[in-house]
Point group: C2
Chain length 447, copies 2
């Protein structure tokens, strides 16, 4: 039986998962592929430290001379058929991927950052070389969303994408919902449990989710996406009070990354959103990820699964390795464009500015409990062309005390909303601080 | 730009959907594929009747001489690059697919029956010819489950498959749940709305779902599956009372098709099941389909979407056409085995008999409301090694009246359960009729 030799760059969580999977499921993989897939060589920056305790050698059954720190030597090794780039990050990863592609060596990567930031360069290089570039694992871990956008939906016009793409945020929001706790305290617990990093900014500020939705939007709409050019809001501002109100309104709060084409522009964003409990994404809790895709012909689809973790990510990485191995064995040029659209057929879409976006809104003010207050607030919204759908005023208070006043609006333009909120916050009947969360309408219920 | 010519066999619901999709999304498809995909020729048994109202010609823009009734001529036409078999059924479809493969012409089909019954022959023929056979549309319409089992999970050991694969049954059960109505009355309404056929047996007796799970199990476990060799129960016996009790127990009743490997045997079955409301499949209502797949490494995943309908099915058919077109254009032999495992690597698994299966059970008796009754019933279960998890007795009655007695068991062997039920039904304290529904435990909650 033919042997396909994989070189692994980076032996962290995912790298170890890949080694374990290839070891544990080798027989099954051969029965499907018709070739054996083996880890031929591993390069890791801190290989020597790791090597001292002999763990790698035990696990991977690889001779010591093929364990090293030199990524270039691994890529250049003529015995390495496929390069798995699992180091993450930007600079080195980009360089390694380009070097491998330059040698027409197929690359499989789990690195969302390098694809979100340098995707255009990498896609173009892969196309020029006629060399497959697999990156299923870069978005939503084990969920096969990249494959489905590149292949399953190849015939369809994608109307919208919306996902829960960051497990850390989903865990924190689920815990806040379950326990009624605040953000800071829940974040601390998530850090203790290993669900959040010591520096949580990348996750809780929405950066990770923005990288992932940029990749998916690129595939869905055939356009480069500048990750610095769209609205990204994290979950730090979500308060227990809003989670409680959401529940009362039959909603959950999730960090949603979404993209859709509207009038020739790309509406792409990451922000917390209220979803009705009927919405399939609202039911996805804990560290799970989910992606909802709506095709003009296929209709709405939802994919739910593990978005991270060593084993789930490795399953996606090795799935890509097998696909690439099939291409290698067929001896032909890859005809599946890395970016779903052929290079000459990609058309840059202008990104909708935050101010042009349309949403429905949940707003919570602390307002005086006096006659005429609601009328002034509603009047300010009305003056900006924003109509209210629902108003909840909680409790009764003395003339000078504030009570929560919650409003749900119909769809409105973000700029109008900001103007209205600015005006209202200056009224003497509300406190200047308010909470604002966008609402995802019940457009994808499967009931 | 190169042109790929599709010949369409069968211009029914799906055939028309494919013609419309290729017409409507031709530009988008070219941007992804780098070739134009056109409907070159159509054969339909009742073409002449259809042709008289000129509809086909208007829609498909195909010269009249390429619309006919002769399937063989279409397959043999050297200008047809890909054959789309959309006539359904067994005999003719099998013959057409084999004829096309015999000419090394790739085939795409939406026909679950022919694959479930003649799959082994068709897979083997496709492998021998090195010719792709696409059948994404045959199971769960637009949901990309075939692609994911063949490719996404190629690296993983699949632990279990469970799906809502028949939209008619799901619609009926959802309506019964929503409205509290009985089966017959709901079926009638479903027929009026076009969600059920005039002869509903194929759907409501579970046959359609059994074909689909047979195909999925074949792909997941690399084994031929005899569709007549496993337990298939439909939904005719589900009563409004059981749906109401399910709700009380925090469950929904769904027609579930499932498969898993247990101790070297294939546990495959179709039957109504109670699912906890936390289970992601329990939330899928109406005519939607859903498939839950659990991979040893990937973990649990759920895919939800439209399982039928002209447009959704066409989206899957044309997705396959594009994949096949990529292979055609690469000029190489297909390396993706039609049945996910290579022909020589498939290993027939023995199918677990219904009597060997293990399940938890919901049972509803009509029992006399007298002291000692529960003890006799529980004793009979205990004598057959079945332990009870929960007992609900409803209402009070006179000494000679019957009240509903609902029991939930822990996992037990089906044969033991049948023996116990047979004995209990002969007791003078219960009516001989009872309801029995298997329970799916809460193993796949994503919360």
């Amino acid at each position: 039986m033919e042997t396909i030799r994989v070189g692994i760059l980076g032996l962290g969580t995912v790298g170890n998962g890949v080694v374990n999977l290839l070891h544990g499921q080798g027989g099954l993989i051969s029965r499907r592929l018709g070739a054996e897939v083996v880890v031929h060589r591993i390069a890791d920056r801190s290989m020597y430290a790791k090597n001292k305790d002999e763990k790698i050698k035990d696990v991977a059954d690889i001779p010591r001379e093929r364990l090293g720190t030199d990524a270039d030597a691994l890529i250049d090794d003529p015995e390495v058929d496929i390069v798995a780039e699992l180091i993450g990050g930007l600079g080195d990863a980009r360089r390694h991927i380009l070097r491998a592609i330059g040698k027409r060596k197929p690359v499989v990567t789990a690195n969302k950052a390098v694809l979100a930031v340098h995707g255009e360069e990498l896609f173009a290089a892969a196309e020029r070389a006629g060399c497959p570039l697999g990156f299923e694992a870069s978005v939503a871990g084990g969920i096969p969303i990249v494959r489905n956008l590149r292949e399953g939906f190849a015939a369809d016009r994608i109307e919208s994408l919306a996902g829960i793409l960051n497990g850390t945020c989903n865990y924190i929001l689920s815990e806040m919902t379950e326990k009624g706790a605040g953000f800071e305290e829940t974040l601390k617990r998530a850090q203790e449990l290993g669900y959040a990093e010591a520096d949580p900014a990348f996750d809780v500020d929405g950066v990770d989710a923005s990288h992932k939705i940029a990749i998916l939007a690129n595939l869905a709409y055939g356009t480069p996406v500048d990750v610095s050019a769209f609205m990204v809001e994290g979950i730090r501002s979500i308060e227990a009070a809003d989670i409680a109100f959401a529940r009362e309104l039959g909603c959950r709060i999730k960090l949603i990354a979404m993209a859709r084409e509207t009038e020739g522009k790309l509406d792409i964003r990451v922000h917390p959103a209220m979803l009705p409990e009927r919405h399939p994404l609202s039911q996805v809790g804990g560290v799970y990820n989910a992606v909802a895709v709506s095709g003009l012909h296929a209709g709405p689809q939802v994919f739910i699964g593990r978005g991270a973790g060593s084993a789930a990510t490795a399953s996606a990485v090795v799935g890509d390795i097998i696909e690439v191995a099939r291409w290698l064995r067929s001896g032909s040029q890859s005809r599946l464009p890395a970016a779903a659209f052929l290079p000459g057929q990609r058309r840059p879409l202008e990104i909708l500015t935050a101010r042009e976006m349309r949403s429905s809104y949940y707003v919570r003010f602390a307002a005086l409990d006096r006659p005429g207050v609601l009328s002034r607030i509603a009047g300010a919204f009305g003056a900006h062309d924003i109509s209210l759908m629902n108003v909840i005023q909680k409790g009764r208070a003395g003339r000078e005390d504030h009570v929560p006043l919650v409003l749900l609006t119909h769809e409105a333009v973000e700029q109008d909303m900001r103007n209205a909120l600015g005006e209202i916050a200056r009224l003497d009947v509300v406190r200047p601080e308010y909470a604002m969360i966008r609402v995802v309408p019940d457009g994808m219920a499967f009931v």
